[in-house]
Symmetry: C2
């Protein structure tokens, strides 16, 4: 029995799957692709690639994003590794899932190399219906959605969905979308006070009066 | 170039490494083993096993714990997956790290099958010196230590280090050890009030007056 540990005969393939989140039209959205091959040919899926022998999981996740969107240098964090024995019908494949967060204005599409289509899907609507998704990607998306909502409270993760400069109403809207609830403006501003600072600039245009622009303070500048 | 993705020629081995934490003599301690084979023969390491073809990563982590300690059914959560290209000198091996937390009184040692020794090491002392550890296990331990301290504030993770019943001073000590700082008794008790309830029992014995015993409330019973 122990020989199997010392000299494991069976190797596995390891993939990364990427959850690229953005906010569009007041909704949390996620990049999905339509698979162009078996298994699950034609079924929506998360973008993903097999990890190459000379590549870290993080570099593979960056490659998956680059191939689907042309984007580089965006915020990325490891979510969880999914390893159910039968999660892929082909063979044993373990997948390391990464979350990427990007402001909508940075996101443009280039044609996916291996996919026929890529689009942004409303995450909360997706999790409430039962349309098919490839592999265990529904479970991965649900895990990511819960993690995102949880991390809003105790990290700066939400700021990756805002641009470098943002107005307070826009920032509050991002928090509300991630948390799935309305926040009181006064409480929100009080909570943000130690994290953000004015840039000195204003956002004008449109029928409303101009709004002050803010940015995230550096860690070292926080009280 | 894309062929490599569609038909990945290179498979990898996938291991789990386990960080089994407990509290002993007022310190956060971690189970280490002395490796009994190359690479890193004789060097301290985390317990770990190769994942078998028919086994989930979590089941492999449970097996690693069972083989080293005889324990089953203890609290386990996935920490992070480590995948640096050169982390193992033999070949490409990706490791999924799991944290296990157990009260000291449940922890007994059975002789590890493949190891000459297993012992509990003071985590914070270990992270402050530079003695050799196998593979990237120092980085894994550092990652786990930071995660543990972070999760104390917003989860019930610390309670897995207490028994099912505990006194308030013992619980406070566990929090202080994980956070690495003294806490004010009144604040701590106020913070715990919504999470714990009296069992009705007392802990007596020793020179001090008996202390009330508490337990963690079920989620649904919290206000």
């Amino acid at each position: 029995m122990e020989n199997q540990d010392l000299f494991p005969s069976a190797s596995m393939s390891v993939t990364v799957d990427v959850l690229l989140f953005t906010i569009e039209d007041g909704k949390l959205k996620l990049l999905l692709i339509r698979r162009g091959e078996e298994p699950f040919d034609g079924v929506p899926a998360l973008p993903g690639v097999f990890i190459r022998p000379d590549e870290t999981p993080e570099a593979a996740a960056e490659r998956a994003i680059r191939e689907e969107t042309g984007l580089t240098g965006i915020y990325l964090e490891q979510l969880y590794t999914f390893g159910a024995v039968d999660r892929d019908p082909r063979r044993r494949i373990i997948s390391i899932a990464y979350m990427a967060l990007v402001p909508r204005e940075r996101l443009t599409f280039t044609a996916g190399v291996r996919t026929r289509e890529a689009w942004l899907e409303d995450v909360d609507a997706l999790l409430q219906d039962d349309r098919p998704l490839a592999f265990d990607h529904r479970e991965i998306i649900r895990t990511a959605r819960i993690r995102l909502a949880g991390k809003v409270e105790y990290t700066d993760i939400a700021f990756h969905l805002a641009g470098e400069k943002f107005t307070l109403p826009d920032l509050q809207r991002i928090f509300e979308i991630l948390l799935g609830e309305k926040l009181y403006k006064a409480n929100f501003r009080k909570k943000m006070a130690e994290k953000i600072e004015e840039t000195g600039g204003m956002l004008s245009g449109g029928p409303y009066r101009p709004s002050k622009l803010y940015r995230l303070k550096k860690e070292k500048d926080r009280s």
